[in-house]
């Protein structure tokens, strides 16, 4: 085989290699594009869990931190993260609730220990939270007594925020 023929043979081999590489890189490009899309939607979904849990924690915390000497503000904080019937309940009964709190000199304090997502989709979610804290009132001689709660919250996504539409104490 002469030099020229050898060179052209190498070039053909190189060209074939390049053709294969080109095809592979196109396939790789498509896969990378799909991976990018998949990751972006996974991030959106994963962030939704974080947003839902943060909202449920905040609402649970408002719900278990109610003071008679700051009654209206305490109730407003619950209403702030609420919507629908749950918000209406708070708004319509707030005057009566304030009176009851003041009469009993109720102070409820606490923290959310854990919060977990039961179910979530694009516009609704169910979350449960475990809280720990105390309650003091005239019945306890104003001495704080331990009071832990198991709460279940229904949330809805409205105007870019997760708001609580129902809150239930799980006995």
């Amino acid at each position: 085989m002469d030099v020229a023929a050898e060179r052209s043979g190498t070039s053909v081999a190189l060209l074939s290699l390049i053709a294969v590489l080109l095809a592979s890189s196109v396939v790789g490009g498509v896969l990378a594009w799909q991976a990018r899309d998949d990751r972006a939607s996974a991030v959106t979904e994963q962030e939704r869990y974080g947003e839902v849990l943060a909202a449920a924690r905040a609402e649970s915390e408002a719900f278990i931190n109610i003071r008679y000497d700051d009654a209206q503000a305490s109730i407003d904080r619950v209403a702030e993260g609420a919507t629908g019937e749950f918000r209406d309940q708070y708004a319509s009964s707030s005057e009566r609730v304030v009176k009851v709190l003041q009469k009993n000199e109720s102070v409820m304090e606490g923290d959310v220990l854990y919060a977990g997502v039961v179910d979530v989709d694009r516009d609704s979610a169910t979350v449960i939270t475990a809280t720990t804290g105390t309650v003091a009132n005239k019945q306890t001689d104003s001495q704080p007594e331990e009071r832990d709660f198991r709460l279940r919250l229904e949330l809805v996504h409205e105007d870019g925020r997760w708001l609580t539409s129902a809150l239930e104490i799980v006995r």
């Binding site: 060179r7 190498t10 070039s11 190189l14 060209l15 290699l17 390049i18 590489l21 080109l22 592979s24 890189s25 790789g28 490009g29 896969l31 990378a32 991976a35 990018r36 996974a42 991030v43 994963q46 962030e47 869990y49 974080g50 849990l53 943060a54 220990l113 854990y114 919060a115 977990g116 997502v117 039961v118 979350v127 449960i128 939270t129 475990a130 720990t132 832990d148 198991r150 279940r152 799980v170 006995r171």
Partner: protein
């Protein structure tokens, strides 16, 4: 010759493009859970982990005075070795009173949820009701909650911790 080196350069460039694509598709490892993104595994995966955590927890925490040791041994098969040891120690402390007072304790799941999840570790918040029956006395029910951690081990989920504040 100049034409051939251009072909070689092109081949090398294409190979590095493929390498980069491959790394992007397969080489990027999954993120770890954070407060902003507490759940970084797929829904099916973490649901099965939470179900498994709930099932294991009811089995682990339900035992009675009859065959006490065998029940505890059975339960440890669903745990990591360090947690199994911790569990055996804590149940050894209560064994005598269980046998003396003929106590049977059963745990039922009221609600399950996911707190955080990766492909390797899932934390589940469970609401549980504990039914304790003593001979001669009725059954008492205590509501409580547990944060259960399960980790992936040999293709199944095993319990590495149960916190019951």
């Amino acid at each position: 010759m100049a034409g051939r080196s251009r072909l070689v350069v092109a081949a090398v460039l294409l190979a590095s493009v493929i390498g980069a694509e491959g790394w992007y598709v397969y080489g990027v490892s999954d993120p770890l859970p954070t407060a902003e993104r507490p759940v970084v595994s797929g829904t099916v995966a973490h649901r099965s982990a939470v179900e498994s955590a709930a099932r294991s927890t009811t089995e682990i925490l339900s035992y009675g005075f009859e065959d006490f040791d065998a029940q505890i041994d059975d339960a440890t098969s669903q745990m990591t070795a360090p947690f199994a040891e911790e569990f055996q120690n804590s149940t050894a402390d209560v064994k005598d009173s269980f046998v003396e007072e003929r106590i049977t304790q059963e745990v039922r799941v009221v609600a399950t949820s996911v707190v955080s999840a990766s492909d390797e570790e899932v934390r589940a918040l469970l609401f549980l009701d504990q039914y304790v029956a003593k001979a001669g006395e009725g059954t008492s029910v205590t509501p409580y909650r547990a944060l259960v951690t399960v980790i992936r081990s040999d293709g199944r989920w095993v319990v590495s911790d149960i916190e019951t504040p």
